[in-house]
């Protein structure tokens, strides 16, 4: 009851007080940072080889796929808006500008007039409408359906203007479009198929996109070869060829980098040492928006252990974040210090909080205050007859999280807890226990590429919620959604983080500094993760003089 009242109060107040701001915000056009075309005078020609971790599942961005698919699709298909790999801002791409209507329930995008498909057919608003009509059909298996299902209809205003009419206010709609899996598809090729998934050849062997490169060859399990698209609307790419080579093993990637076989790959800090003395390879740190967390259960058999916020705060005090950053991250990264939104999303001001410092003695005192002491002398703290014993579920396959899990087990056992380290298969027991909410505490990684992910993860009804309920945070996020004023949104999220800090649902670990290893003969490399950077591969050039 109270939360509903609160929500209504806040949204009404916001609407009344900020009406002028809303009107101004609604008239906002494209933000700064529009990408330029290929730089003038850059050397033309050449080939750049990028390493992929696995075989892409599909060459159709709408259908389900994982990281390798997204990376390749980035170079083949132009999104309406893109996320700048270095600043994480939303920049124009296929859409040169956009604006919302007065109450932020409709967004209009203006398409680039020169956009064409790889087969020469011009790209128009009809392609956008066609694509989204299909996405919004729940039987089409679009992987991003849930992100855009509040789109009621898509209206073709003219050949290069399209309007999305939403069933609810959404100030973050352009941000959603930049996350991938929503790039327009060519209507003239797909419309004859009852379902997008029926076009198997288009989806897996002969894709036709609108991005800077087009597919010319592939061998499953080995490589994918792309050639420059001469009529790319931002200007022909400098390169002639872009090759994606599938190299699953990290050590082999290092070997191939050093042998000159590969030009660009992501690299782990532990492997960067191998390239330190190699003059032909440069290691570049790039921003990331993902951090590991220790996630507590608020439902299920272990929830009573963590229900009291003091327990979670005590556990936070038992963690030495500096040492973890040093040992696990080799110093490459930044401690979140209690924040839940990565600082790379710079429009969100940092929360005004005091991070929980490493203090095991304080932790033990807080636990005792909360009623957890070792009453029966067996070495484990207990309360009301229940021992503080729980399994720590760690998803296998990520060395850093596995290592953090070990360290946490050590640190919590020093508090008198009994922690069992359970390494589980990520697509098996780990996800099952998560979805069924029977885990006690688990290691996970949260991506927060934009603030909407904050809502998904930390609000009680978000799609990624795990049982944590904090009505004030929910209200703040609701208020942020109702406005398209970025500054106001920022303040709401700042406050939401402060509230979370007082009643922490998770313990966030350091924001990893991602590393890219790039051959020095390649120029114009965006300093970001591969997945965000591939739409900008038209900026690459090969300087054989280096």
């Amino acid at each position: 009851m109270t939360s509903q009242l609160a929500k209504r109060f806040i949204s009404t107040a916001a609407a009344l007080l900020l009406l002028p701001a809303l009107l101004l915000g609604a008239a906002q056009g494209a933000p700064q940072g529009a990408p330029q075309g290929a730089p003038q005078g850059a050397p033309q020609g050449g080939t750049v080889t990028i390493a992929l971790p696995a075989q892409p599942e599909s060459l159709n961005p709408i259908l389900p796929g994982e990281l390798s698919s997204s990376i390749v699709q980035g170079a083949l298909f132009a999104p309406l808006t893109a996320q700048h790999p270095e600043t994480f801002e939303i920049v124009p791409y296929l859409a040169t500008s956009w604006e919302a209507n007065a109450d932020v329930t409709a967004w209009t995008f203006h398409l680039h007039p020169d956009a064409k498909w790889h087969d020469g057919v011009p790209l128009t608003a009809h392609d956008v409408k066609f694509t989204f009509d299909r996405i919004l059909d729940p039987t089409e298996n679009a992987q991003s359906y849930a992100d855009v299902k509040h789109v009621e209809r898509v209206e073709v205003v003219d050949e290069h203007t399209v309007t999305f009419h939403l069933s609810q206010v959404d100030g973050l709609f352009p941000d959603r479009l930049a996350l991938g899996a929503l790039q327009p598809l060519p209507r003239h090729l797909f419309e004859k198929y009852a379902k997008l998934a029926d076009a198997v050849e288009l989806n897996t062997a002969k894709p036709v996109g609108s991005g800077p490169f087009k597919l010319v060859g592939l061998q499953t399990g080995s490589y994918i070869e792309l050639a420059a698209f001469d009529d790319f609307f931002l200007g022909r790419p400098n390169l002639d060829t872009l090759v994606f080579s599938i190299v699953p093993d990290m050590n082999v990637r290092v070997a191939r980098l050093r042998a000159g076989d590969i030009d660009w790959t992501d690299i782990e800090p532990t492997h960067a040492a191998a390239l330190a003395n190699d003059k032909r390879v440069e290691v570049i740190p790039v921003s990331s928006s993902r951090y590991a967390v220790l996630d507590f259960a608020f439902e299920g058999p272990y929830a009573p252990l963590f229900a009291d916020a003091r327990v979670r705060i005590a556990m936070a005090h038992a963690i030495d974040h500096d040492l973890i950053l040093e040992t696990v991250g080799l110093g490459r990264g930044w401690n979140m210090n209690g924040a839940y939104i990565p600082f790379v999303l710079s429009e969100i001001p940092a929360p005004d909080i005091e991070p929980y410092a490493y203090d095991p003695e304080l932790a033990k005192r807080i636990l005792a205050e909360a009623g957890w002491t070792d009453t029966n002398g067996d070495g484990t703290i207990d309360k009301d007859g229940r021992e503080f014993a729980f399994p720590l579920l760690v998803d296998r396959g990520n060395v850093q999280r596995e290592q953090i899990g070990l360290i946490l087990q050590d640190e919590f056992e020093a508090l008198g807890m009994d922690v069992e380290y359970v390494a589980a298969e990520r697509t098996g027991r780990w996800i099952e226990d998560t979805r069924n909410r029977v885990f006690a505490a688990r290691m996970a990684e949260f991506p927060v590429p934009n603030v909407d992910w904050f809502r998904r993860i930390y609000t009680s009804d978000g799609p990624n919620a795990r049982g944590y309920v904090n009505h004030e945070v929910d209200a703040l996020v609701q208020a942020a959604i109702q406005t398209s004023d970025r500054q106001l949104q920022g303040r709401y999220y700042q406050q939401a983080q402060e509230l979370l800090h007082a009643d922490p649902p998770v313990v966030p670990f350091f924001l990893r500094e991602q590393l890219m290893a790039v051959s020095t003969r390649v120029g114009g490399v965006p300093k970001g993760e591969l997945k965000l950077s591939t739409p900008f591969t038209y900026l690459l050039y090969v300087d054989s003089g280096r």
């Binding site: 080939t47 080889t49 696995a54 075989q55 599942e57 599909s58 060459l59 159709n60 259908l63 389900p64 796929g65 994982e66 729940p138 039987t139 089409e140 298996n141 992987q143 359906y145 849930a146 998934a197 029926d198 198997v200 989806n203 897996t204 061998q219 499953t220 399990g221 080995s222 490589y223 070869e225 060829t241 090759v243 080579s245 599938i246 190299v247 699953p248 093993d249 050590n251 082999v252 070997a255 191939r256 050093r258 042998a259 076989d261 298969e425 990520r426 697509t427 098996g428 027991r429 996800i431 099952e432 998560t434 979805r435 996970a444 991506p447 799609p463 990624n464």
Partner: protein
């Protein structure tokens, strides 16, 4: 003979059916599911919707019957993770690479392993025997991913004699015979080493025991030249356990080694099998299993057929 072959064929079909059923049951029994549905960034409702669209919410027995029906019509179905690619095509396109690697590794193992084993047996407990034991043992004893990395670092990075991984140089420069061979050397050696070591030791063992057979001693005492005795009488008999080992290794080599293929980015069947298993992609797993089953059945049939040729005392009742 025809009756025997018919019997074997019927038995093979029965085995195939049992294997398919067992595989299907195992996939259902294991926790987790199709990996694209197990993505932690999508909600449970979304996972259910995607699963429904892929037909995974139908009752298990219905899915099973439908797969069998399609299979009997020669259709192996479509992959659930790879955007509906036909499973048959996915398996067949891996065949050239897999056969190239597997047969090269087998050739390497036989060409080096058998003579080494014979030499070891003929100089039993001598230097060659112990050296062969150490060499084959060392090769056998090194985990293949470790050996692979060492070779890559040595030959591709330090010496730059061979390419680090992959099946060919990408683009128009690659693809020629020399290019293909250069890419084949390291993976074939790494894949073949364990079979080589096994063949060496079984050959040595079989040679030694056959040397002690009565008829060999009789032939020797009759004064036949040692070389003649060796070649004619001993080799064929000694080959039976060796041929058996080779027959067991062959499906393993042809089926591909996931470790070697992953390391060397070799687009083979082993990598596909591991990938399908990790993704719990039922049609793809079943497709690979069907193929591997056929290979196993055929190779065992061939091996069994060679026993009477090698040793006339063997016959099947």
């Amino acid at each position: 003979m025809a009756r025997y072959l018919l019997g074997r064929t019927l038995a093979a079909l029965l085995v195939l059916w049992l294997v398919i059923t067992a595989t299907f049951v195992m996939i259902q029994a294991a926790p987790g599911g199709l990996s694209i549905l197990m993505n932690p960034n999508i909600s449970a409702e979304e996972a259910a919707r995607l699963g429904r669209n892929l037909g995974l919410d139908r009752p298990v027995h219905e899915q099973y019957v439908q797969w069998l029906g399609n299979f009997l019509r020669g259709d192996l179905g479509a992959s659930l993770s790879y955007a509906g690619r036909p499973v048959g095509a996915m398996v067949v396109e891996r065949l050239p690479a897999t056969l190239k690697l597997g047969l090269s590794a087998a050739l390497f193992a036989v060409a080096v392993g058998v003579p080494l084993g014979v030499a070891a047996a003929r100089h039993q407990n001598g230097f060659v025997d112990q050296a062969a034991g150490v060499v084959s043992g060392t090769l056998l004893a090194t985990p293949n991913f470790w050996l692979g990395i060492l070779l890559i670092v040595l030959f591709a990075v330090q010496l730059e004699w061979l390419p680090a991984s992959g099946i060919r140089t990408i683009g128009s420069r690659g693809g020629g015979l020399a290019d293909q061979l250069a890419h084949l050397v390291m993976p074939a050696v790494v894949l073949g080493t364990s079979t080589l070591a096994e063949l060496t030791r079984y050959t040595r063992s079989a040679w030694l025991e056959t040397m002690r057979q009565d008829y060999v001693r009789t032939a020797r005492s009759k004064g036949l030249a040692r070389g003649a005795v060796d070649r004619k009488h001993v080799l064929k008999n000694a080959l039976i356990p060796v041929v058996t080992v080779f027959g067991v290794a062959l499906p393993r080599l042809i089926g591909g080694s996931a470790v070697v293929e992953t390391l060397f980015s070799w687009p083979g069947l082993g990598q596909l099998a591991v990938d399908a298993a990790l993704r719990r992609d039922t049609p793809l797993i079943l497709g690979v299993t069907v193929f591997v089953s056929l290979m196993v059945v055929v190779s065992n049939l061939v091996i069994d057929a060679t026993y009477p040729l090698l040793d006339p005392r063997v016959h099947y009742s």
